[in-house]
Symmetry: D2
Subunit: 330 residues, 4 copies
């Protein structure tokens, strides 16, 4: 591969080969939160209610063990427990993407091997992290993973966690070469996102492209996204499903109205004061779900603290203003 | 002010006061490039053709001495020459925003004083740069500028240049307080952009909000943007004008089609190999305008190099593919 | 704890308690490279020669499974193989620090449990990474690890990998509280390093403080460092041992001369062209050790490439100029 | 030039040419603070006392209009007033370096022209800032400045302000080519600093190399620095002069003792709570000088606030502990 990203890839040599997996999962695929007991153990009854909340809303799939699922905080035993529980509860009603997040190639491969028995619709892997690498190493990483994967491989573009941005031309080349089947874009770089979609289209659409940015999914659909992986979709999956259907139908007024409503709900993540990162974002999602009666606690994994009362009250105020609390009490 | 950004501002005490200037300029306001002769002097005949290109397309205003106008490269004498020439050519046909880009408060004030005689519709200022400052200093900066400004003040959110992001709650508070009349958002942070628009609306719309991101203007319109300040608008202002009109009419299919077309054109900025920053982006715009016969050279300010022949050929290939070269030769 | 770092900690309540572990390991503790076969497996004969190279030089300890040991690239099985082999070869002749590098608290704890049976002199852990955390979470992380650790805990300050800097006041507080016994500083922030040493001294020296910056160890000794953890120490451990002894004796002319000589040798890491991160640094160390006849290959872990011939020749040229090749051939 | 930095420059073609200016200014060259009245105007009587404080201590020169001198906050008129006053007060007793800090080449040239009449011993210029540039543009920038400069040009390596690091091999090449005479290193990258010194020595020492890092000057001397430009030198210039003389004499025990004493004094910059950047650092220096009776106020330039009473009291506590207040009252 080249290390620059200045050329669009040539048309796919065999788009058909890559098209199959990309056709298999699109639409709304929320990154499933992991409900915990006060003691920090997996809370299976809460998980059951949360999965039902998603399935009732009509989501197209679930992404298990993503960043919002607190994957980085779980040791291998806990990851296995989560996968065991989720696959048991879902029972094949929707396809599952499984996050195989780890530092470098061999560790990601170990995560893939451990997850194989859960029959995922796809594995989701990031660029290498901890050690600095460049485009050549990222390419070798994904090609090694793709060769070893027993299910379609998805690239997870999340620079805020791994401190490197995946280049759109590189991703489309990996798609064209049959290495990856899709991209979860959490880059926050919408200029790059539009290029990715356009390059993918020019290459025969080897990739399914999903956005992770909860409040600009409408723009992503205008750009040509195939769906979304919204963390906020744990709180209001039905809204994202309605937005997706409207987008597919070209009903942009509805898309916009749903997005505006969901963006107002997203204000919950800005209510915690004195918290950082997932303690703030995932903490807000968990708090909202607890207040809505879906999960039992807002407990976060060590070393993250649960949101304090002041933050909870501020989140409740948002949920009041958006009507979610009223809906829940009906 | 507080240094956090967790609360939406209270409703404006006197929205009427701030509403007047915000009503005065919206729509498409391209950041005017500054054509140079081979020797690096201002090329007035090219400037005349470029302004005509904009006015013929129906732009709503022009932003002079922005980043795309190479303002950071111009000493005070050159800035005065540019303003003299542009105001003479435009002759009041459209309002002008004038960039008063400089490191810290007193220097920006000096730029404002120097530009006053050109009767701008607004001054555009960034956060302080070179020295690190925090939210309190940014607040004091804009309030001091606002108090001294003889025309409406616009905040220019451009972290890639000043290495700090303006917080949306802070901007809306400045709008509510009558300090600023508008925002040019070149932050690349569309989550923040949508929050800015929503907070502004909740506060009675004290601010006019324009996006500078050429390839996701469609999404910005869905979010509620009042218009755009697209550098690429120098090459194809008519496209951005059509997109704006379609957005105002709620004709999203046209918005999307124009945006896709303009995004394809934007690929010109990725063609230069071995160039960085404005040498690449502005260099590509200047090259395209030269190839289209509108300006005479693609010369950039010292220490930037003009694009080389290989880059020029690659840009021509994009212009061919998008039909712009064919249009120009008619 | 507070999230600012503006105050020096109060004098230690019980410095004696913390003093014991800090007394147990200081001086030169190189981060042991992990020799690999061409196939990427652990190369035990090379490891034996490399350990002998260190012991012959008189190092005070070894740091196994650090960043230079490619820890982030090794799955759990490989980590266990490395520890098994190293402890077998070293046979208790020097104490071993073991790196327990993983993303978040529970995963680091799992690494500690797996390494316990190798009787380490200490565990070395970084701040959490992958997910963004703040000072409170970092504090909770180290306190949880410290409570669970069966051997003294060391904090590894390596912002280039984990993207957060440990604050010196925080580290000394953790030392005073008996949570950590030492710090390996690879921060590259020598202003912070000197503050750390001074605050530690003011607190009764609860911490042993080692620097990882190969070419400014002399300045670290002037500042009061207790020793070094130099990656380059794999190539020339004897030089670092001589420098340490000279520093302890206050013979600064010798310290300086050794450091200048080692800094000249460190130029090997700047010779690879087109490589990034550990492929460049650790790759250069491995290449030098191969050229010196100590290990068999310069193979790196997937997805890192081994240095190419041009890089190898440039490294040989440095080794010639510093006399290391001539020494090796004697 | 090449954009990589992997090779030491060839021996200088004409070291003699470059040697002259580099010989002219070395040792302790504090960056002169700019005392302001409460109203924010230049406080000439305080400036007279501050300059006398420096000259009495035996400094080798003064750096006027550096970052610590608040240059980025001063418009052209204020810069001229400062230069007028300082040159009048100094009256040629020590050489002056003058900062010509501005965004890009033509603006820096304008600053040089304005400062020429003050007969500087050198001009100090940074890499371009505001617009992103790469190595080629930085090279063109310094070469254009060097060709235009009427006095020796110094490169100011200050990535915290300009967001780019100058490469040591590049700096030495510029020295060898007679473009620059010296470097003020405020990079905080001591690994790079040692490489710079070593490469410079190998090239025949075309450059004078001064460090700006107040608390690790001792290590810089070990590495071969020619002197220092310490902001803290405004508070205690005599300490830095003693350290320099000891370093030149190879008396490292004295170097170390002075550095430890000055590092304890440097704790003043960590006392302000709720301040950022120069409001914290320069604010602490100004506060200390006011408490020591040398300047009249601790006023900072707009938009920076002066330190509050709590911060002042904390700074006084440091000055008590280091004995500076007692010295001042004698």
């Amino acid at each position: 591969m080249t290390t620059t990203d200045t050329t669009a890839p040539a048309p796919a040599a065999s788009p058909a080969a890559a098209a199959a997996p990309s056709a298999s999962l699109r639409g709304v695929v929320p990154p499933l939160l992991t409900p915990l007991t006060e003691a920090g153990e997996l809370d299976v009854p809460s998980l059951e209610r949360l999965v039902a909340h998603h399935l009732d809303a009509g989501v197209d799939g679930l992404f298990v063990l993503g960043s919002s699922g607190e994957v980085a905080f779980f040791d291998d035993a806990m990851r296995a427990r989560v996968l065991e529980a989720v696959t048991g509860i879902v029972g094949g009603q929707v396809p599952l993407l499984i996050g195989v997040i780890d530092t470098e190639t061999s560790r990601v491969m170990a995560q893939m091997r451990a997850a194989e028995r859960f029959a995922p619709a796809g594995f989701v892997a990031t660029a290498p992290f901890y050690a600095i690498t460049g485009p050549d190493e990222i390419d070798a990483h994904f090609r090694a993973l793709g060769a070893a994967a027993s299910a379609p491989l998805w690239a997870y573009d999340i620079p805020v966690c791994v401190h490197v941005k995946l280049a759109p031309g590189h991703l489309v080349q990996l798609g064209t070469d049959g290495v990856i089947a899709g991209v979860k874009d959490s880059s926050g770089d919408d200029v790059s996102f539009r290029r990715l979609v356009a390059m993918n289209r020019a290459a025969g659409s080897p990739l399914t492209i999903l956005t992770g940015h909860e409040t600009v999914v409408d723009g992503a659909y205008l750009a040509g996204a195939d769906g979304s992986v919204p963390g906020l979709g744990n709180v209001d999956p039905a809204g994202y499903v309605r937005m997706h259907r409207a987008a597919m139908a070209g009903d942009w007024a509805t898309v916009r109205a749903e997005q505006d409503r969901l963006a107002a709900l997203f204000e919950i993540v800005f209510q915690p004061i004195g918290f950082t990162g997932p303690a703030m974002g995932v903490g807000a999602f968990k708090t909202a779900l607890r207040e809505l009666g879906i999960i039992a606690t807002n407990t976060m994994s060590t070393p993250l603290r649960s949101l304090d009362d002041a933050s909870v009250q501020r989140i409740r105020a948002v949920l009041e203003s958006t009507g979610h609390l009223a809906d829940a009490s009906r």
